[in-house]
């Protein structure tokens, strides 16, 4: 068993860290406070191949793997949770299902511009009445021969607005329940497809989270992704992969909060000595870093399992469950160790605490992850 990161991934990690520290960190506060989508960062990320890390070069990707991808999301999220989730949703939820389920034509037409970063991607599953209960889809796609007519709406869609390619679930046969759900590739600008209300959020405020509205959208038959009626399975497999990305985001947020705290406690003095000289500080930090290292091993294991083409859904669920709850706990402690300053916008830990919360909710709540893990234990 080898717990060491190989030299290729060490070099990649250095790249992701340099990029995040120099290009992403300086914008993080502004992106959060102004709820501003960091478009300029994404074009830089595209230039260096961040938008298609695990996809083959022939499809516009960087020819890398999922371990490298989670390292990228981790390093970006250390300094900006917004940038981390933009990459995660684009890569895991839009490019990946097209790569894994698409026809050659679909890959040429949609994966190439996604993986090369010319276009941003998004994924639409959640609806006003279908969240964790994803089977309750009300968006309908009617087969009109040659095209499908889509009607309905989606809610809380990450990257909606700036994204140009959308993987969307819709009911093609209501009588079949989950077996009647199919996946489609939609393009921004299709007639009848519009972006609804943008959510105002507690955290990851620079990411664009909107409603999708479909009013008689004519989707060409060749945009059916995967098999007719195979949409539910496709969505669940996609979320298994997405969870690794969100786990990496949570891991990054947690490590970022520790890094800020370590610097702070060495500077801040109380009772004539730095906070770092108090045993409470030392023990808190030790607990925080130990948890984060454990989370990192779970996240890297899930990514490595996917790379090895082994089953990874339980590994991904464990990684997301543990990393997101670790992020919440660690960022809360980071604010506490910063004291009053930690509660102000002068220091980034309050933002990290707000960003951490969503990782326990989206792409499957912590409760859903517990269901996935226990279901595998009790079957």
């Amino acid at each position: 068993m080898d717990f060491q990161i190989d030299k290729e991934h060490r070099l990649l990690s250095q790249l992701f860290r340099d990029f995040a520290q120099n290009e992403v960190k300086p914008l993080a506060k502004e992106v959060d406070e102004e709820e501003r989508f960091p478009a300029e960062t994404l074009s830089k990320m595209a230039r260096y191949g961040f938008m298609g890390i695990p996809f083959p070069k022939e499809y516009g990707g960087s020819g890398g793997d999922n371990l490298a991808y989670v390292m990228a999301v981790e390093e970006l999220s250390k300094v900006c949770g917004t940038t981390g989730v933009i990459l995660s949703a684009h890569s895991s939820l839009c490019a990946a299902p097209i790569y894994e389920n698409g026809t050659e034509e679909q890959k040429r037409k949609y994966l190439v511009p996604l993986a090369s970063g010319q276009k941003l991607g998004a994924f639409g599953l959640t609806e006003p009445n279908a969240g964790t209960d994803a089977a309750g889809q009300q968006t309908v796609a009617e087969d009109k021969g040659g095209y499908y007519l889509l009607n309905g709406s989606k809610l809380f869609i990450t990257n909606a607005g700036p994204a140009e390619v959308y993987v969307v679930m819709a009911m093609t046969d209501k009588s079949k329940g989950t077996k009647g759900i199919s996946a489609f590739i939609l393009e921004k600008g299709m007639k009848g497809f519009s972006i609804g209300k943008k959510e105002e959020k507690m955290g990851i405020r620079g990411s664009s989270t909107c409603e999708l509205i479909f009013e008689n959208v004519e989707v060409p038959a060749e945009n059916l992704l995967g098999k007719l009626g195979g949409g539910f399975g496709l969505a669940m497999r996609t979320l298994d992969g997405g969870r690794i990305g969100i786990a990496a985001q949570a891991l990054g947020i947690a490590q970022g909060a520790i890094d800020e705290t370590v610097a702070y406690v060495k500077e801040r003095r109380q009772f004539g000595k730095p906070l770092s000289a108090f045993q409470n500080t030392q023990f808190q930090l030790a607990d925080m870093q130990t948890r984060v290292d454990a989370a990192r091993m779970l996240v890297y294991r899930a990514a490595a399992s996917k790379d090895a083409k082994l089953p990874y859904n339980v590994e991904a669920a464990m990684a997301k469950l543990f990393a997101s709850e670790t992020a919440m706990e660690v960022t809360t402690k980071a604010v506490q160790l910063h004291g009053g300053y930690g509660y102000t916008r002068e220091y980034p830990v309050e933002r990290m605490m707000r960003d951490a919360k969503i990782t326990e909710i989206y792409e499957g709540t912590s409760e859903v992850q517990r269901m996935v893990v226990s279901a595998a234990m009790l079957k």
């Binding site: 030299k7 290729e8 070099l11 990649l12 250095q14 790249l15 340099d18 990029f19 230039r47 260096y48 191949g49 961040f50 890390i53 070069k57 960087s62 020819g63 890398g64 490298a68 990228a72």
Partner: protein, 261 residues
């Protein structure tokens, strides 16, 4: 067009600590980077490759660990990397270093050699100009801008001084020393980093360069470090907010207090 970029792996700190017993740099525990001036030189070479087409070779002399700096250069877009590494090269001063690098350059085709102005650990700014002297090449130091002229027979460079600059046309082949302010070096690309370890890095030792062992390394170094020390920390100082007249009076009073005037 062939461009060779000479670069050095250095400790990532301007606060270099020196071992008081040996007078050498303490490298343990300090992450290593490509020397900033050299990295800008590499960026200048890669920009020429992008605009005019060129083959970029990076050349470094150092211990085997310098491999990672060369991998980074490959991941940024360099085509080939060569490491000059041999126990016999150890302890070299700038003269022995430039002799060794010049010997390697004699084995390589080049139209342009770019070195960084100086390394952040040694700060001599001597190696680049010495290489040019060894090879009889025209050289321009302190370069902040570089453009290739049509026909690829010469380059025009901006040479920067504290109080002005020169614009110089220089015929190829030549050697330039680059300033870090010259550009913002690109990052590695993800695919470049993935492929960097799949490429072969040539390692040349003493035998490959055919040099006299007496002319290189510690033996070939006319300068010896007599003593090195870490500067003592300065006190924080005091800040006064005064107008010019009061300020002048305060300075005079303080200097008098210390019997300086």
């Amino acid at each position: 067009m062939n461009i060779v970029v000479c670069m050095k792996q250095v400790p990532d700190t301007t606060e270099v600590k020196i071992d008081p017993a040996t007078g050498t740099l303490i490298r343990e525990g300090i992450p290593s980077i490509i020397n900033p001036d050299d990295k800008s030189g590499l960026e200048a070479a890669l920009a020429l490759k992008d605009s005019a087409g060129a083959r970029v070779t990076v050349l470094s002399m150092g211990p085997p660990q310098a491999d990672v700096a060369l991998r980074e250069a490959l991941a940024m877009g360099a085509d080939e990397a060569i490491l000059l590494s041999d126990r016999a090269f150890g302890g070299a001063d700038t003269w022995a270093t430039s002799s060794t690098i010049a010997a390697a350059l004699r084995k390589l085709p080049f139209d342009l050699v770019i070195c960084g102005r100086q390394a952040i650990d040694g700060d001599t700014a001597q190696v680049g100009p010495q290489i040019a002297e060894h090879l009889g090449l025209p050289q321009v130091s302190y370069v902040s801008e570089l453009s290739l002229e049509a026909g690829q027979k010469s380059v025009v460079v901006k040479r920067v001084f504290e109080d002005g600059y020169q614009r110089i046309r220089v015929k190829l082949p030549c050697l330039l020393t680059a300033l870090r302010d010259m550009n913002s070096p690109r990052y590695m690309s993800v695919s470049g980093a993935f492929e960097a370890y799949g490429k072969q890095i040539k390692v040349w030792g003493l035998a490959d360069l055919g040099l006299d062992p007496q002319s290189i390394g510690l033996k070939g170094s006319p300068t010896r470090v007599k003593q090195s020390f870490t500067k003592g920390a300065k006190s924080a100082g005091k800040v006064y907010e005064l107008d010019a007249k009061e300020g002048a009076k305060l300075i005079v009073d303080r200097l008098k207090e210390k019997f300086i005037i």
